[in-house]
C-alpha cells in the first residue's frame, strides 16, 4: 500500500524540485556567462566605434619615418658629373626625381592604408553589430519561449475546464460513502469500472470514453 503523501513526494514534488533546481542552475550560469560576454562586447564594439571616429589606428608616425628613409636614401653625392660639370643637371634631376617618387610612393601607401583601415573598422562594426542584433533577436525568441511557461490568461474554457474537473473530484470525494475509514484511507483502482447510482463513487477526468483509468473509492 502506498500512502498519498509518499506518492506525491516521489512522483510529483521530486520532479518539480529537480526541474526547479536545474532551471535555477542554468539561469545562474546564463547570467554569469552573459555578464562577462556583455562586458566584452561593449568593450570591443565601443573600442572599434571610437577608433573609427578618430580615423583608425594612428599611422602618421610610420609614414613620416618612411619618408625620412626615402630622403636619406636619396641624400647621396652627385657622383661623376663629367669633366665640365655637364652631368650636374641630369644627376641632380635624377636625385630629385627619385626623392619625389619615393615621397609620392609613401604618400600613396599612407592614403591607401587609411582607406584600408577604415574599411576594416567598418566591416568589423557592421558584421559584429549584425551578429549582436542577431543575438538580440535570439534573446527575444527565448523570452517568448519563457513567457509561454508563465500562467496563461485564464480563458473561459480554461476556467470552466478547471472548475468542472475540480468540482467533479470534490463532489466524488465529498460523498458520505467515500469518506476515508478511520484505519486509513484506501482507494482501489478498478480499471474499467464505471459509476452507477447507488454504487461506488467513480470519476474520471477524461470522461467514460477516454483511455484514462477511472478511480473509484471503496
Amino acid at each position: 500500500m502506498i500512502t498519498k503523501g509518499r506518492v506525491f513526494a516521489c512522483h510529483f514534488d521530486g520532479q518539480s524540485e529537480d526541474a526547479q533546481a536545474a532551471a535555477q542552475i542554468q539561469e545562474s550560469l546564463q547570467l554569469g556567462e552573459y555578464g562577462i560576454s556583455k562586458q566584452g562586447l561593449e568593450a570591443g564594439l565601443g573600442y572599434a566605434g571610437k577608433e573609427l571616429a578618430i580615423g583608425g589606428y594612428p599611422q602618421a608616425g610610420k609614414y613620416s619615418l618612411m619618408t625620412g628613409d626615402v630622403l636619406n636614401a636619396s641624400a647621396k653625392p652627385l657622383g661623376d658629373v663629367g669633366t665640365n660639370l655637364g652631368g650636374v643637371g641630369a644627376r641632380t634631376g635624377d636625385i630629385l626625381a627619385m626623392r619625389a617618387a619615393g615621397q609620392g610612393g609613401v604618400g600613396q601607401q599612407k592614403v591607401l592604408s587609411a582607406v584600408d583601415e577604415i574599411n576594416k573598422l567598418r566591416s568589423t562594426l557592421s558584421s559584429n553589430g549584425l551578429k549582436t542584433t542577431g543575438l538580440g533577436a535570439e534573446a527575444g525568441s527565448l523570452s517568448n519561449q519563457a513567457l509561454s511557461q508563465e500562467a496563461k490568461n485564464p480563458t473561459l474554457s480554461t476556467a470552466l475546464g478547471a472548475a468542472s474537473g475540480a468540482a467533479s473530484i470534490y463532489g466524488a470525494l465529498s460523498q458520505p460513502s467515500a469518506k476515508p475509514s478511520p484505519t486509513g484511507a484506501q482507494t482501489t483502482l478498478q480499471s474499467g469500472e464505471t459509476g452507477s447510482a447507488g454504487g461506488p463513487a467513480t470519476f474520471s477526468l477524461f470522461g467514460p470514453d477516454s483511455n484514462a483509468i477511472p478511480i473509484s473509492r471503496v
Binding site: M1, I2, K4, G5, V7, F8, H11, F12, G14, Q15, S16, Q20, A21, A22, A23, I25, Q26, E27, L29, Q30, G32, E33, I36, S37, G40, L41, A43, G44, Y47, A48, K50, E51, I54, Q59, G61, K62, L65, D69, E117, T124, N128, K131, A139, L142, Q145, A146, Q149, K152, L160, G161, S164, G165, A166, L173, A185, L189, L205, A212, I213, R217
Partner: protein, 194 residues
C-alpha cells in the same frame, strides 16, 4: 492498493518525466562545475585582451612593451659597436702595415662611427615602422578575440537559458499548461486534503 493521489499523478506525470528531470538536474550541476572551472580563465583572458587594447588610438600595451625591449637591445648593441670602433680601426691599421699620414686612423675611426650612426638610425626607423604594423595587427587580434569570445559567450548564455526553460517544462508546479493540467493540480490538492 494504490491511492487516488498516485493515480492522478501518474496519469499526467510519468516516471520517465521524473527521471528526465533528475538527469537534467545532474547535467545542470555538471554544467555548473564546468562553468566554474572555465569562468576564471574566461574572465582573465577577456580582461587581458581589453587591458591590452587600452584607449582607442593608443598602441596595444603588449606591443609597446615588446618593442621597448627590442629598442633597448638595439641601442645596447650599437653602443657596444660604437665603443669598439676606434680600437678596431686602429688594430686593423696596425695589422695591415699601413703607414699613412698622421691622423688617417683617427679619420677612419670617425668615418666608421658616422657610418655606424647612420646604420643605427636606419635600424631605429625600421624597428619603429615594424612597431606600427605590429601594433595594428595586435589591435586587430585583440578586438577580434574580444568580439569572438563575447559573441560565443552570449550564444552560450542563451543556450543556458534554453536549458532553463526546458527544465522548467518538467516543473509540474508550473501553471502554464492547459485546463487539464490546471484541473489536475486542483484535483490533486483537493485529493490530498480529503
Amino acid at each position: 492498493m494504490i491511492l487516488k493521489g498516485y493515480h492522478l499523478a501518474c496519469t499526467f506525470q510519468s516516471q520517465g518525466q521524473a527521471e528526465s528531470a533528475t538527469l537534467q538536474r545532474q547535467t545542470a550541476e555538471e554544467s555548473q562545475n564546468l562553468f566554474q572551472l572555465g569562468e576564471p580563465y574566461l574572465k582573465q583572458t577577456m580582461n587581458d585582451f581589453i587591458k591590452d587594447l587600452g584607449a582607442p588610438g593608443s598602441e596595444p600595451a603588449s606591443v609597446k612593451n615588446a618593442f621597448s625591449q627590442i629598442e633597448a637591445q638595439n641601442t645596447e648593441a650599437f653602443d657596444q659597436s660604437e665603443g669598439a670602433a676606434p680600437a678596431q680601426v686602429s688594430q686593423l691599421a696596425k695589422s695591415s702595415g699601413y703607414r699613412g699620414a698622421q691622423g688617417a686612423t683617427d679619420q677612419a675611426s670617425a668615418s666608421a662611427l658616422l657610418d655606424l650612426e647612420k646604420r643605427r638610425k636606419a635600424v631605429e626607423s625600421q624597428t619603429k615602422q615594424q612597431e606600427y604594423d605590429a601594433g595594428m595587427a595586435q589591435r586587430d587580434f585583440d578586438m577580434s578575440s574580444i568580439l569572438g569570445i563575447s559573441q560565443g559567450g552570449i550564444s552560450t548564455s542563451f543556450g543556458y537559458g534554453r536549458n532553463a526553460i526546458t527544465a522548467e517544462q518538467y516543473n509540474t508546479a508550473n501553471p502554464g499548461n492547459d485546463a487539464i493540467t490546471a484541473a489536475t493540480t486542483i484535483a490533486s490538492i483537493i485529493a490530498a486534503l480529503a
